[in-house]
Each structure stands twice: as C-alpha cells, then as structure tokens.
C-alpha cells in the first residue's frame, strides 16, 4: 500500500456510513439535529398548547425552575401568554421545513447550473457564472427584506427568496468540482465512445459531484436558518402570529429585562442547530476530501 493509498480507503461515499465505532463526531451533532427534526415533526404530540392563541391571563410566567414558574409551562410564557416551549417546537417546524424546501430549490437549480457551466465551458459558462456573480454580489439580507416587503411576507415567498439567494453558492461549488472532473480520463473516455453529453452528466458527473454537493448543502442550511431568523425578526419573514424562532426573538427583544426567556431559548435553538449543521458539514468534508488523506 503506497503512501497515497493509505487514505484512499476513505474514498468518498464508500465508507461514510459504515463506521463500526461510535465517535463524538458526527454522532453528537447528528443526534441534536435528529432531535430537532423529531421535535418539529411531532410537535403536536409534545405539547398540548396552541402556539398562536393568546392567553393574556397567563402571560410572562418564567421557566419552571425559577421562582414563579410552574411545570405547566416548562420554559415560561411570553407577553401574550403563549407557551414558549410550544412556540419553540412549532418554530422548529418552520425552520426545518424552510431549510428543506429552500435547499431543495437551491440544490436543483444550483447543481444544474454548475454542472452545465462546468461541462460546456466557453460562453455558456461565462454567462452563467456572471449571473452567479451578480446574485452573489447583492447583499442578500437587503434583497430578501425588500422582496418580502414588496410582495408581502409569507412562508412561500420566504422559501422562494431564500432558494434564489442560495443557489448561486451551490452552483459555484458544483462548477468547480465539475471542472476537476472534466479532466478525468473516464469522462474523456465516455466522450470518445460517443456517449451523449446528458448521459455523461447523469452517470459520471452527478455521482462524483455528490460529496461536494452534500458538504455545500449542509453548510448552507445553517445560513438559511440564520437568514430566516433575521428576516422574521424584522417582520419580513414568517408572518406573526405564527411561531418561528426569529419571530420569537423579535417578540422577546423588548422584554429582555422582564421576560428574558422569551428571546433566549429561540436564540439558543438557532445557535445549536446552525452549529450542528456546520459540524456535520465539516465532518463530511474532512472524510471525503482526498487532500486530507493523511489525517484520520
């Protein structure tokens, strides 16, 4: 086994899911993410409260471990009497759904553009990449804000604008990988056998681009969640009274002194989620990057 092949046992895709021993990474962040997804999916089972109905009589209860709190409202209630824990798990729903749908849009559009630009090269590549550059140059937050204000905040619009802002980042990464692949002999060979370009794309390029795509996707998910939080914070995201972590932070902003728990828990939730997706993304990249062969 030459020096170069020592790490080749870690070829992308082949071994990622077959580790027999349990390790801190990526199990810890994966568990966290799994919990969040489960919480989102099973929200109604986890709590009997309604996330949007006001109940002023019960407003501003602190979390249960504090004086004045009760186990009926584990994390307290906000100024409208809404249970914070309930809004937190329903907010998870929003974040998870948002992340999934907008990433699907971003990946479909971005990967296609990236692969086409990479394979075709020439003027097609130049044109597509200038488009990518233009979108990337726009301050995303501002655009999202303006868009939301112009069209009206709604979940659907949010998904669209986020997908629109993220796809160029995916496209760039995919294009880079495609360019690398283009030089590989097996692609040249397929061409020499007159395999049509679209089939080369499907059978040779896509599977080999997948690991990089996966990494980019996981790393962008964190970005999407943060963007949504920011937008919702400004009222341009998910429309109130729907629960979303960003909205909760907005609600809790004014009450930091008297009801600090209202903004803290969603803030923590965002931090933990984004941290976890980033960790998973980094781990995948370290495992699949042939350049980090000599590390284990």
């Amino acid at each position: 086994m030459s020096v170069a092949t020592i790490g080749a046992a870690q070829l992308p895709g082949a071994r990622i899911l077959r580790r027999p021993r349990l390790r801190l990474m990526p199990t810890l962040p994966l568990i966290v993410l799994a919990l969040i997804v489960l919480a989102a999916v099973f929200a109604p089972l986890l709590t009997s409260y309604d996330p949007v109905r006001n109940d002023i009589a019960n407003s501003l209860y602190p979390p249960f471990w504090m004086e004045g709190g009760s186990t009926e409202h584990l994390l307290g209630t906000d100024n409208f009497g809404r249970d914070v824990f309930t809004r937190l798990v329903y907010g998870a729903r929003v974040s998870v759904l948002l992340a999934v749908i907008s990433m699907v849009i971003a990946v479909v559009v971005g990967a296609t553009v990236g692969v086409v630009a990479g394979l075709r090269g020439g003027s097609v590549d130049a044109l597509l990449m200038r488009l990518v550059d233009m979108i990337l140059a726009i301050p995303s937050f501002l655009v999202a804000l303006v868009f939301a204000v112009a069209v009206g905040p709604s979940f659907r619009n949010l998904v669209l604008i986020l997908g629109f802002l993220i796809w160029p980042r995916i496209a760039r990464v995919v294009r880079g990988e495609t360019l690398l692949l283009k030089g590989q002999d097996y692609i040249k060979y397929a061409r020499s056998c007159r395999v049509p370009t679209w089939l080369i794309l499907l059978r040779h390029v896509l599977p080999n681009v997948l690991p990089v795509l996966l990494v980019a996707t996981t790393l962008e998910v964190g970005e999407v969640i943060l963007l949504e939080a920011g937008l919702s914070f400004l009222g341009a995201g998910v429309p109130a009274p729907q629960a979303s972590w960003g909205v909760m932070i907005a609600d809790g902003r004014a009450l930091v002194a008297t009801g600090w728990w209202i903004a803290l828990f969603p803030g923590l939730a965002i931090t933990v989620t984004v941290l976890s997706t980033n960790m998973v993304g980094d781990w995948i990249r370290d495992r699949t990057d042939p350049k980090s062969r000599d590390g284990r």
Partner: protein
Amino acid sequence: MTTPTGPVLEVRDLSISVAQPDGSRATVVDKVNFRIERGGATGLVGESGSGKTLTSMAIMGLLPRAARVESGEILLEGEDLVKKSSRQMRRIRGKRVAMILQDPMTALDPSFTIHSQLSDPLRQHRGLGGKELAGAVVTAMEQVHLPATKERLRQYPHQLSGGMRQRAVSAIALAGQPRLLIADEPTTALDVTTQARYLQLLGELQDSTGFAVLLVAHDLLVVRHVCQQVMVMYSGQIVEEGPVEQVFADPKHPYTRALIGAIPVLDDIIHLESIDGQAPDVGEELAGCRFAQRCKFSRDICETAVPELSKHDPDRTARCWGTVPGGWIST
C-alpha cells in the same frame, strides 16, 4: 554529534505500522536493516506496496499520520532520527538529509518563481544573503545544467518542462548541502531521454559534491545505472542485498531473479517472464516466506518457516531457504 567516519545512514531493525480501517495496525515495514556509506549510492527496489516509500519517508520524518515507527533506529551520522521531535527534524531536513520525489510539480510551489524557491533553502540552511546568495543561486542552477539567466530565474514552475522541473527540485534539495539525498522514483514521470540525462546528472552531482544517495525505485535498471549497492524489498522485508552487478549477474532470491527476468530488453524481446499472482495483502500474517505463494521454487519449508537473511559471500545477503548454501536452488 557527527562521526567523520562511519556510515552516513544506518537503519536498524526498523518496523513501521499503518492503521487499518477497522482500527487495527498492520506491519508494512518489517525489521529492515541497512547502511549507506559516505558518498555511496544505494538503491532500494520494490513494487508498489513493498514498503520502500514508507521507509524513505520514515528517514525524513514525514510519515503520514496513519503510519508510525513501531521499533528500530534510524541513525543519521550516528544520531537516532526516530527519537527526534518534529522541531528537531525540521532543522535536519534539508540541511543534512533531503528528498526528491516522483512528481516535481508537487514539490515546487506553483506560486513562487524558481529564484525564490532556490533562495529559500540557501538562506535558511546556509545563512547566505545579498551578493553571496545571488552567486550561490547561479552556482546551484549551473550545477544542474539549468541556464542561470534572469529570464529563467523569474519563471514559474508551470513554465518549465518536466525535466527542468526535476532539475530545479534537485537543485533546491541540494542547496542545503545535505549528506544524504533520498530520491524516490525521481524519473518515473520523465520520458526516456530525459530520464537517461537525469540519471547521468545525478551521478555527476554525486561525484562533485560527495553526498550519499538512497535511490528508491521499482525499476532495477534505473538503480543499476546509478548505484553500487542494491537492496530488494518485498512485502515489507528486505529479501536481498549486495553490490549491484553481482546481484544482477547472480541473484540469490527468486523474486530478484523474477524481476530481472521480467525486464524486457531490446535485444531479447521475445523472452519475457512475468510473475504470476500478487503480493500478500497488507498486514496479512504469514507463517513462512512472504514470496512463497508466487515462487517457482517453493517447497514445504517455505510456507512454514520464515527465512532469515543469510550471508552469501562477504557482502551479500538473501532471505531464502532455497539459495542458502546447500539449498535446492542452483544459482
């Protein structure tokens, strides 16, 4: 502590292990012993997977993280490199032992000119500066037959041909005036005429500067061209050692014999022996000789007992039951 006499490199019972995907460690270099005299040229021949590259990496202190030295000593002019810290190794690398690799493109930084890549080691290892430095750069270039013109010095690696790059890499490696140069398959990426010229250059440099060479290769003929001594490595063990011409004329190990037989020579094209089968898997534990499964001459004892290196003549050794004096293989 340097010993003015004595071998420049002495490797004693070196064993290297590599981490396996399932967590265990496999021995890929198994108690290797050899020495290189001052100014000598020794070849280390083996196929990929024989452990030759890991051995040379161990000497440089550049083993990948998955590999580590399990036991043994690597004595560079008497000092054990295995015991050195990475900081100490950094001082030794380039100044006392240097390495040339197969692919000159990865040895050269594509973002820096030849001039700057050559000046760095001269400045660092020999403390030169100003005019002295400029002069040394020119000398270094001329030594490897690279034109030391302003244009050339300002060029970047991608503007040079393969042969030029390998020469530049050699100049950089020799800039620190090392006592030992390890060349790991330095000509594999070069075409045949460039290869011949480069090997000739290596010989010239050795004659004029007096450094010792460890030439790691899979091609016996390349080694024959440059070295006086040769060691043949198979599946982590040295199976034969001796002066090059003697080993060629009268190989004492069936693997060496098979390697020589597998070399197609222009005059004798029809006759080409190939070695059937494959080397044992990494980490595969065998009770006997590691070459036995592929050996034409193997007998029962070969599969049940590991042959030790036995002496043949004053300066030859071989690891084979069959060629031991009194053995069944007539040599």
